[in-house]
Amino acid sequence: MIRITETAFDPASELSAFHELSSAAGAIVSFTGLVRDDGGTESLTLTHYAGFTETQIEGFVKQAEMNWALDGCRIVHRVGEMMTGEAIVFVATASAHRRAAFEACDFLMDKLKSEAPFWKQETTAGRTKWIEPRLEDKADLKRWDNARN
């Protein structure tokens, strides 16, 4: 399940709902990304390309399913303006075994960080600037070069 929302969400509720749907799984792994305060950050604003962004993320999920035996997957992503401390992304994966759940969740986050069509603006001390892609994120993504596409 993939959901892009302008509304704040509760990661604990998302995990609980995913757990209920994945009751037969042997392992569930989840990751929650929060809006970080990088020294005076007031807010973060994300934009996306409705329809296109969802399709790209569906492609990431299909890749994960080709590489790991998953019983399920849930991705929730905020767009619009959000404040420090709020959840920006939630990814959960379920599998029979922990390794597949861990690796698939890690893979999906790396794909989201580097290849998902989102554009981010940070407002600090009343000034807004675009956030550029980070080299670390691209390096993280390269770890999966041998994964099936």
């Binding site: 296109f52 992503h77 989102f118 554009w119 675009w130 892609p133």
Partner: protein, 81 residues
């Protein structure tokens, strides 16, 4: 009318456009040249290596034809989620 969308840094230059394309605009390259003449700073941004252009939500490295029924999106480097 073609719909042209602008994402990321492109959105600083223009908001959504609905335009009747001139006959000289037939593909991504000619559309980019057309918009570069119309919008200050567009050509420089479009030339950056991380710029992506989608036509009807498909991104292709190959050239594709463009017409007045298409939706074209210009996307600057992705910030990621």
């Amino acid at each position: 009318m073609a719909v042209i969308l602008f994402f990321g840094r492109f959105s600083d230059l223009s908001s959504r456009l609905e335009v009747k394309l001139p006959a000289t605009v037939t593909d991504k390259a000619s559309l980019t040249a057309y918009l570069s003449e119309k919008i200050e700073g567009f050509g420089e941004l479009a030339a950056l290596p991380d710029t992506r252009i989608s036509v009807n939500m498909l991104v292709s490295m190959a050239e594709v034809s463009i017409g007045n029924e298409d939706e074209i999106a210009y996307m600057s480097a992705l910030s990621g989620g």
